[in-house]
Symmetry: C2
Subunit: 190 residues, 2 copies
DNA sequence: CGATTCTTTGAAAACAGTCAATCTGTGTGG
DNA sequence: CCACACAGATTGACTGTTTTCAAAGAATCG
């Protein structure tokens, strides 16, 4: 198994070599190039993906036809489209590579079987979900309590390296702002 | 165990009578009156709560000193403050009853022990978290793609009975709007 | 009924979006 | 290596949505 994933897992749970070995057999490595899609609107999402290296964005087109980025995934994050994955319905969202990206794919078809064999995996994913939930709830807190300008400043302070990696208009979209507005805030900061 | 919780659990996982009986031993029932607090800023959150009947709100004070409601909890929902619960840090949020509320308390101190004895509980909570995550992600989608007026209309259409149960200013706070604005939108609808 | 809490209304102001034009930078092919 | 094309970023004027403030009106509870 890739050392990044092993290290990641150990941040959440204690796991034995034997358990890692079993987990390993359920994973496939996958590479996608910049602008390639991991999932397109209308398709069924059938896997969870661990990003070894790279960056993807999860987005949809809003009622005015604008791309709205729901969130990004980067190195050492799990990414998937839960609504499609869990409810087995066609995805309303797209997942696209922002950079060339290296992933590990964990197919959902065998996920329950894996959890039976290695129950700690169930705990791992429960804990991951809890952490993810905390993060997304904080995001809602910020959306409502900070002005657009404050949100942008906060984002670049919290993610200085990431800000360099992706185009500015994508950060604007993620923050629910127009690219022009972000540009103006940036000018103001200097 | 309360029939509401049994029914709730069975929507997520298959569970035996014996497993329910064990789960039961970890639960305490609890009642709080309108305006009483389940958790106050600064306290450590030590339990997950299942709401049998009633309504609570999870809120904090933003940097301008306004109450910001993060979300509500009603009949047949689990509620807790995950950041405090998981990271064992003082809560930045308050949980307060909006109505007289009847709960089941599941103390976190014994949660791991319960999951060891009844592994299906671990799966239950993983699945609950996944559903919860889908819901909160959709909320972000709506925040960014609908205007304030549209968000309010959508909310009352989706939650007609709930709109009657709580004061309008709380719905405004939950939706991140001023009470005056909600009032104006309401006038416009008629 | 009196007091407090919640809701409504209107006018002025702030914040962020839209549109259109221009500027910058980067990569590609000749 | 240059020229061009195209994607992304910037700027300014104008517009629209939502907030803020203040005051008045309704509803609820002891």
């Amino acid at each position: 198994m890739h050392p990044n994933l092993i290290e990641y897992i150990k941040r959440y749970v204690s796991i034995t070599e034997a358990e890692i070995a079993i987990f390993q057999t359920y994973l496939h490595s996958k590479k996608i190039k910049k602008k390639e899609f991991l999932l397109k609107e209308g398709q069924f999402c059938k896997s969870r993906y661990f990003i070894i290296k790279g960056c993807v964005r999860l987005f949809h087109f809003d009622n005015k036809g604008n791309e709205q980025i729901i969130h990004f995934g980067i190195d050492n994050w799990w990414i998937t489209e839960y609504e499609s994955l869990i409810n087995q319905i066609p995805s309303q969202l797209n997942i696209q590579a922002v950079e060339n990206t290296e992933l590990l794919e964990l197919p959902e078809a065998y996920f329950d079987e894996l959890c039976e064999k290695v129950p700690i995996i169930e705990r791992l994913f429960r804990k991951i979900m809890e952490k993810t939930y905390i993060a997304i709830q904080k995001r809602i807190e910020y959306i409502y309590s900070l002005s657009g300008e404050e949100q942008f400043r906060f984002f670049i302070d919290a993610n200085p390296e990431f800000t360099q990696r992706v185009p500015q208009y994508m950060i604007a979209s993620y923050l629910g702002m127009s690219p022009e507005f972000v540009s103006k805030v940036k000018a103001k900061i200097k």
